[in-house]
Amino acid sequence: MRRSLRQLIWPLVALALLLVFNAVASPSFFHVQFVNGRLSGAAIDVLNQGAPVMLLALGMTLVIGTGGIDLSVGAVMAVAGALAAKLLHLDAPVALAIVAALGVCVAAGIWNGGLVTVASIPPIVATLIFMVAGRGIAQLITDGQIITINPGSSFTVIGRGVIGGLPVPVVIALSAALVIAAIVRLTSLGVFIEAIGGNEEASRYAGINVRWIRLSVYAIMGLLAGLAGLIDTADIAAADANNSGLYLELDAILAVVIGGTALTGGRFSLLGALVGAIIIQTLSTTILMTTFRGHSVPPEFNLVIKAIVVLMVCLLQSDELRRMVLQVRRVQG
């Protein structure tokens, strides 16, 4: 517990700084109201819009924990949305649409995991294949059109509904976080993932079923990406195979890294990844809300800030930099 808290300090400090900046620069940020049975306000919006990346980051944490990576999650999101929308378009029941979409996403995850474990293809290459082809499959399903969903359909609840005052995407993301945390920490899955990422050879000697664990991690990733895709599609009540989930694999990886999990695998932090995802979303919201001398800051500024964040996080984790700093200190002292 203590160890995981220590891991979380930097991301939490970063988030706190961002929030303080917001509190000062745009006081409306923390203005949360209860309107028409739902909470509303910028802070709630951050969570709501950040939900897909939070879901992806949860799965990506596990994948990166084993020392892998999954570039295909954005494409998987697109497939989920496309399939669900297509089925709804064909008057399929909502439940069937959801189950079928999620099922296909799990299959996509197993495909990725299979390439990694059975064919021993490096994860970055293995998932690149579905990253490219998956979006094509999504477009194939939608025939290249944007399929709209009847805004009255109960399916849209996934993206727009409210439960207990909270937007449904937030509820889904937080419950998924709880479920994943429970699965990972109440079973041995978490320890196995950390063991494989920390020392695969030793894990094999200890009789851990390395292949199976790897495979299931990619399958879980597929499921979570599917959920994220459904939220995205339900939110705009349309499946846009071209843009759904675009770039989000990168945001998810970024969230995991910000959360203190190293790309090399081993110790991972689900909570850190959630904080990382919230930081990323807060950044974009902050930039949208911030005004500078009466002018609003262009949203593209977000990308530049992100670049700086990535570089800072990398440097903070760099052993090489730590070594250099220590050396300089020793010379001076």
């Binding site: 021993s120 970055i124 293995a126 490219v132 082809a133 194939l140 990308l303 670049a307």
Partner: protein
Amino acid sequence: MKMHLNRHWPLLTTAGVLVALYVAASIAYTGFSSWFQFAQLFADNATLGLAAIGMTFVILSGGIDLSVGAVIALASMGLAVLVSHMGLPVWIAIPLVLVIGTGFGAFMGAIIQMFKLPPFLVTLAGMFLARGTALLLTETKRIEMSDSAGIRALSSVLVVDFNIAAMVFLVAVLVAWAALKYTRFGRTVFAIGSDESAARLMGLPIASTRVGIYAISGVCAAAGGIVHVIGTQAGDASVAFLLELDAIAAVVIGGTVLAGGRGSILGTLLGVLILGIITTIPNYQGNLNSWWIKIVIGLLLLVFVVLQRVSQRWSGARG
């Protein structure tokens, strides 16, 4: 001779796929096999091709560069701003953009090398930075340049149906091929990708080579952006979105191994042409939709990655 066939079979497979595609398309579609179409293939894919050439260096050394699409956009927008907004003559603006591209790549290479950071994350930051800067340069995100005499002049150059983009691409292929084959730098690129610690023990200059590799990727992407401007007579900050994926795909389909050490520029050229033909076919075949392109590229990637895997096991068994 058999030995040499063994060594070159990944390249031969790629060549086979290309020839089969070309012949099939030529038979199926009238006009496809014309000289003009052939030249057009190079012109249409010059930007991708240039990016893929830079990416070949990076991947041969065992790295990856996610920033190339964004650098193309930055170069495209940068050139437009320099020429249209600041009134610089083209012959000054173009070298300036190339220098910026080189510097951008070299900077990423230096960070990767100095702090021993994963190229994936550093070039991801580079991608955000370059795309963000490109989008922030102007409020319009796109600058029409048909009023620039210099750009118009460049875009009208045509040598036996090859326009300037196609020629730059082909010259870059030649230069890159020669650099990889005939310079110590080129051989060091292979050595780093094949076994970095051995290369270090052999006294090869790792640090400067790595910086050079990313600088080349930067300059190639910048050149890609420039020819795109010349071709479309406009600077555009949202161009070449996720083009790095296509570039990586072209390199892998061209037989270069993502782990580094093995591959060729010739293969990359073939890979680019394969992608080029696949993307052109829907223009002829009305009922074939563009998303099939992605699926087919994904399948080709799968086939080539698995082939590489098999050939690695096979050669590993001998070693």
